[in-house]
């Protein structure tokens, strides 16, 4: 049976990790490569780097992180943030990233999804979707609007419709962030998750809102998500990967146990 995935997300700016505390046995918790290797050893199933660098040096800095990560990390990792061309995708994939995540570029030019899928295969193409709940009148079913540019601009697109479209265009996975839930630590928007997961047949990764272990279970059951993206609960040392996985397993969810040996 396919395991539910636990995916730490590292926000990177100018080649440094933005969130997190100093961990024991880590010389430099701000080094994305060291942090990535740490989560690999801890038993994370995958990793996501979200590059939030604004400077012109962005591309060079993230490619360097990807190159160095590929030397020491032996689980899949995805890179997202500001990827706006097939050429940039290729550079990241050739440097060692397993997948690229596109967001605003896909909204501005949806054909970039199909081009990426054709060149590199759907398995490499993750489309990230930031969605905010639209106030529904009594009796109306809930709906969500897609935002671009890191949640700054509303696009007028319905989240479920947009996710169906990105699937048709060849996306391999959807990384779905609830802007309402993000940062609250109150739990994922499970209604949004299940609306999208029910509307597409590609895997959906839940993002935004995890504060407690129950939230992860809810996203994976009620929300029908295939994977959960987590940040704060791991970065601030609230739980270890092993503790999270043991909890999920106790709730009857299939997880890949933390390996009993290191290579």
């Amino acid at each position: 049976m396919l395991a539910k995935r636990l995916i730490p997300c590292l926000d990177v700016r100018d080649g440094r990790v933005v969130k997190g505390v100093q961990f024991v046995n880590l010389l430099d918790a701000g080094d994305p490569v060291e942090r990535a290797a740490f989560y690999d050893r801890e038993g994370a199933d995958e990793l996501v780097f979200l590059d939030i660098t604004a400077s012109a040096e962005r591309r060079r800095a993230i490619v360097d992180v990807v190159r160095r990560t590929a030397e020491v990390v032996f689980i899949p990792f995805t890179v997202g943030g500001g990827i706006d061309s097939v050429d940039f995708m290729r550079e990241l994939l050739v440097s060692g990233a397993d997948k690229v995540s596109i967001n605003t570029a896909a909204l501005e030019n949806p054909s970039i999804i199909s081009e990426g899928a054709r060149y590199f295969g759907s398995q490499c193409i993750v489309v990230a979707v930031d969605a905010r709940r639209v106030t529904a009148l009594p009796g109306e079913s809930p709906c969500w609007e897609v935002y671009s540019h890191g949640g700054r601009f509303p696009t007028g697109k319905d989240a479920v419709e947009w996710c169906r479209e990105v699937e048709r265009r060849g996306a391999g996975e959807i990384l779905l962030t609830s802007m309402d839930a993000d940062g609250t630590l109150d739990g994922y928007d499970n209604e949004l998750l299940s609306a999208v997961a029910g509307g597409v047949s590609i895997p959906v990764i839940a993002s935004g809102g995890a504060g407690r272990l129950e939230h992860l279970v809810e996203a994976l059951t009620k929300g029908k998500a295939h994977a959960v993206l987590v940040a704060s609960i791991l970065h601030y040392g609230t739980y270890t990967v092993a503790e999270v996985k043991e909890y999920l397993a106790r709730q009857g969810l299939p997880v890949r146990p933390v390996s009993s040996y290191q290579f």
Partner: protein, 225 residues
């Protein structure tokens, strides 16, 4: 001299990961697209991601199809990974669309008989993530790995060998499918050992040990030629 293991440069973007993973196991490897180098290799790792037809086309352009077949026929240890496993078969359902039924289905290397099929509707496709691998018989490729170990998969098509006897492991996704094959020294895995953490590194090290143990036999054979 240490036997040489070659990773076939099949044009896929994940060569670097496989190279690093094998290096991590402590063995030296070389990446090459040269049929001369492949013909001399004691062991061959044949990776692949992307589309079946383009990958076959690239092998033909680079003149590699012949040397790969030759290596398998000579019985040199050979490990196909993901699309590299699928390409060992005769034909694939993978194509742009379902129309054009008169067009022949893309042909593979035809080293193993059988087909490559798309997962049926109703399941999330691609099959992506960590799934368990169950052995049908013991094999040195899985030495030291607990039964039901998790490996990382990402694929939309799966193999259906005509000869059930070549199936080494099965994995459950909707229904059981063949997740690896073994016929003599010809091995192939549908999952990505280079992305499967400690279990994957162990499997790659096991493959290199198989190469090591066989290399002597082959060097003797070559001297006798």
């Amino acid at each position: 001299m240490k036997p040489s293991v070659v990773i076939v440069d099949s044009g896929s973007a994940n060569l670097r990961s496989i190279y690093r993973a094998v290096e991590k196991t402590g063995f030296r490897v070389q990446v090459s697209a040269s049929s001369a180098v492949i013909s001399r290799a004691a062991g061959i790792i044949f990776p692949g991601v992307g589309a079946f037809e383009q990958a076959m086309e690239l092998l033909r352009q680079r003149g590699l199809a012949g040397s790969l077949k030759e290596a398998v026929l000579e019985g040199r240890p050979f490990l196909g990974i993901c699309l590299g496993l699928q390409l060992l078969f005769s034909e694939s359902e993978e194509r742009g669309s379902r129309e054009g039924q008169d067009a022949p289905q893309p042909g593979g290397l035809s080293i193993l008989r059988g087909r490559v099929k798309r997962f049926p509707p109703g399941l999330p496709v691609p099959h992506v993530g960590w799934n368990r691998v169950f052995l049908k018989r013991p094999h040195p490729l899985f030495d030291g790995l607990p039964e039901g170990s998790y490996f990382y998969f990402t694929h939309s098509y799966y193999i259906q060998p005509l000869d059930e006897g070549v199936v080494l492991t099965v994995t459950e996704y909707g229904r059981p499918f063949a997740s690896s094959v073994a016929r003599g020294n010809l091995l192939g895995v549908q999952f990505h050992p280079e992305k499967s953490g400690p279990a994957g590194l162990r499997l790659l090290a096991n493959f290199i040990r198989i190469v090591d143990s066989q290399a002597e036999v082959f060097s003797e054979l070559r001297e006798g030629e």
